[in-house]
């Protein structure tokens, strides 16, 4: 028996069939290109975006649901059973969650682009159905993790709580586009963004980083006490900001800002400690993106506080949101995917002589470089365009972002083609 067959046989409870995580990753790569293409079409509207329906809102949700949530679900399904040592549950349920999330994202974002409340509601309900399945599977798994990896599990619980809150708020916001029953749509939209970006995606990123970053860098475990401080500060920020935005209580919003800064400081301290102790000296293109994401996390939170202090700065909220969404979360997730896709593929693909395929043979540098350069250029151009309200710069940035997303899609298709 080959090595690959041996370990697959021994670990089938924890290693999912390749088609399961990869269907989420490839779909995310397709939505990534769709998000940039939509932003390209909506570049003129981005500087003054305030949350109303239209192409910018559609691009935003193609990015958040289509790319970030899709990736988070695929990665969680594969990483949770490895971290907890417990199986994830029924495989058909994973397939069903993907089958629901794809049309849910398309309907929701199409409804947003066309300002069609019925399409939006249908998309939101389908997306929530996918999230309910994901939540059920994740709860079933994480409750076995407590003793093994308490800090990762605690982040997982926080992320699942956030998911329930942001999905409920999102559903209310969508229904409000046709019903108009909410007294403060913008306040709830801000709370929805906080729980989605900081609560769900942020806590998942912080939690998985405890294992993934030391694993990729071959480093000692991160300082756990700092991790608990980070988690506490992050949860304080979520509750304070959630109530502060919804009930318009400025003191709570400021407390949330301080909480996110403290949480980010704790997380960045942990990551610095991990990289200081690393054995692997050359970390490659993925870690350029991951390090960029850490810089943008700090910069984005700092800018968000400036925006709170300067409410008259019209394009400030869009710029801070862009830095956090694209600069932090998208940079981080595309960096992680660039590491994890060849890594997972090497477990499934069989190379020459029946030996496991090497990760290095499953990585293609040209599209990754194209993506990296275009991603950074897009960040710079769109930031300048938003800061100085120059739409052609936003347009140029969206075009380079779209080019980069094609590079990323090329890489994803290459890795999947090596699985056969």
């Amino acid at each position: 028996m080959t090595n690959a067959a041996l370990f697959l046989g021994g670990a089938k409870q924890r290693l999912l069939p390749a088609s399961l995580p990869f269907r989420f990753f490839v779909t995310a790569a397709v939505f990534h290109a769709a998000a940039w293409a939509t932003l390209l079409a909506a570049a003129g509207d981005l500087p003054g975006f305030t949350g109303s329906t239209g192409l910018v809102l559609a691009a935003l949700h193609l990015m958040t649901i289509g790319v970030l949530l899709m990736t988070a679900m695929g990665a969680s399904y594969q990483l949770l059973p490895v971290a907890t040592g417990a199986p994830i549950g029924r495989l058909w349920a994973i397939r069903l969650s993907h089958l629901l999330l794809v049309p849910g994202t398309i309907l929701l974002t199409l409804g947003m682009a066309l300002s069609g409340p019925t399409l939006m509601a249908a998309g939101a309900l389908t997306t929530v159905a996918a999230l309910v399945i994901f939540t059920g599977l994740a709860i079933g798994n994480i409750r076995h993790a407590g003793k093994a990896m308490p800090l990762v599990a605690a982040h997982g619980w926080g992320a699942l709580l956030s998911l329930a809150v942001f999905a409920s708020l999102g559903l209310l916001l969508v229904l409000d586009f046709s019903g108009g029953f909410l007294s403060d749509h913008i306040g709830l939209a801000r709370a929805h963004m906080l729980w989605a970006a900081w609560g769900f995606m942020g806590l998942l990123a912080f939690g998985f980083s405890q294992v993934l970053v030391p694993m990729f860098a071959l480093a000692r475990s991160v300082p756990r006490r700092v991790g608990w401080i980070e988690l506490t500060a992050s949860l304080v920020a979520l509750f304070a900001g959630g109530i502060g935005f919804a009930a318009q209580i400025p003191a709570l919003v400021i407390l949330a800002g301080v909480g996110t800064l403290a949480g980010a400081a704790g997380y960045l301290w942990q990551m610095r400690a991990a990289l200081k102790s690393r054995m692997r000296k050359r970390l490659g293109t993925p870690f350029v993106l991951i390090r960029l994401s850490w810089v943008m996390l700090a910069a984005g939170l700092g800018l968000a506080l400036v925006v709170l202090a300067l409410p008259s700065w019209e394009s400030g909220p869009a710029l801070a949101g862009f830095w956090l969404l694209v600069g932090w979360l998208l940079s981080f997730l595309t960096g992680v995917l660039q590491k994890i896709m060849p890594f997972l593929a090497s477990m499934h693909a069989v190379g020459r002589g029946g030996r496991p395929a090497l990760q290095s043979d499953l990585t293609l540098q040209a599209p990754l470089r194209l993506h990296l350069i275009c991603h950074i250029l897009a960040l710079v151009l769109i930031s300048a365009g938003l800061a100085f309200s120059v739409s052609p710069l936003v347009l140029a940035g969206a075009f380079t972002g779209f080019l980069g997303s094609l590079g990323f899609l090329w890489f994803a298709i290459f890795v999947v083609s090596r699985l056969r």
Binding site: N3, V82, A83, A219, R220, F343, L358, Q359
Partner: protein, 85 residues
């Protein structure tokens, strides 16, 4: 310096033994890779683990090592690692 690495090791007649039981991921991976990278001659290494370390295998393959799961003590996953010629 293997004493700085997670887990502990000792020599037996059949080669180096590494025990990484009780460590949280990714410390077992670090303990194993750090030690096998410091070996100067082709060798056989026995790893005492408490789980099937599926994320270790791509790293071993990348470094030219093969592996085999062999019977171990109850609750233990024992691996024999060999440097491929």
């Amino acid at each position: 310096m293997t004493e700085d690495l997670p887990g502990h090791d000792w020599q037996e007649e059949d080669g180096l033994h590494i025990n990484v039981q009780g460590l949280q991921p990714p410390e077992p991976m670090l303990g194993i890779l750090g030690r096998i990278e410091s070996l100067t001659a082709p060798a056989q290494v026995t790893v005492h683990h408490d789980r099937d370390p599926i994320y270790l295998y791509p790293e071993l393959a990348e470094r030219g090592w093969s592996w085999e799961i062999v019977p171990g003590a109850p609750g233990e996953v024992r691996l024999i690692l060999r440097k491929r010629p």
